[in-house]
Symmetry: C2
Subunit: 143 residues, 2 copies
DNA sequence: CTCATTGCAAATACTTTGCAATGGC
DNA sequence: GCCATTGCAAAGTATTTGCAATGAG
């Protein structure tokens, strides 16, 4: 019976196949990213990791994020002007709405916007390599 | 005969009206922003300013950018992961396409995308306070 | 004259890096 | 056993801030 191509948890074999050694620290970080389902920054990942393994260092968090990003296992975002925040790269591409009061992030996707972006780039003589669409918003006051 | 509401050059009176003192340094920076028509970062503004007035300091550039931003005279952008880059805030709102090879920035505006963004935020129960749409792209190879 | 603004140096926030020790595979 | 990876401390980049001197209005 065939395995699904990429079960959410199984980054380990993918990374191993890419020549990345799975250390205790990396496993801890990977678990945090998989379990959290949110968009923590390096310091927050470090805090959560420390709770599990107090010997982990912030350098290792930063280095691991770089490796995971290069291997495509995570995405890095720079919301507003704060530190980079990370998320697991399992689902399809999506954009972000950031609640400016709470810092919460809501993911969304609009095929129409994606298509319009392509169209615009094309008109300008360019090919999109990546893009970033962020809506900084505030909860509507129900009245 | 009525003056246009905001001649490109005349930020000075607007700022003065907002209680901002127009110093030699600020005038220099304002001129650089007006003349450049590009999206320089603080260091680049500092370099250009030094050419005109070597006594200016980088702190003053940063402090001035903050004041100008608060008064709405400029916009601050954080393209990619680099330093903040600034542009004069005269025209209408627009988004940016960044040439990833040259760093050049092309401005564009799509009413349809703007409308779709509003629609999405509304559906999620939010009101957009600001947004950021950046296309990182590469020139199409003509073939 | 008054108080906003400046230059300088030191501080801060986030991130990267050199190096010797450790530990996957 | 080899070499990728680690922790630590130090360095690096972008930006902000305390303070005494200066200068705009």
């Amino acid at each position: 019976m065939a395995e699904p191509a990429q079960p959410a948890q199984d980054y380990e074999s993918l990374l191993r196949a890419a020549g990345v050694r799975i250390t205790r620290q990396r496993r801890t970080i990977l678990t945090i990213l998989t379990d959290g389902g949110d968009h923590p920054d390096a310091l927050e990942i470090f805090r959560r990791a420390c709770a599990v393994d107090p010997s982990i260092s912030l350098s290792t968090v930063y280095r691991t994020m770089k490796v995971l990003e290069e291997k495509g296992a995570i995405h890095r975002h720079a919301f507003g002007d704060g530190p980079s925040r990370f998320e697991q790269a399992d689902g399809a591409h999506h954009d972000h709405l950031i609640d400016i009061d709470s810092g919460d992030v809501i993911e969304f996707r609009s095929e129409r916007i994606e298509a319009l972006q392509e169209e615009i780039a094309k008109e300008l003589g360019y090919e999109i390599v990546s893009h970033r669409l962020e809506l900084y918003a505030r909860k509507r006051r129900p009245r």
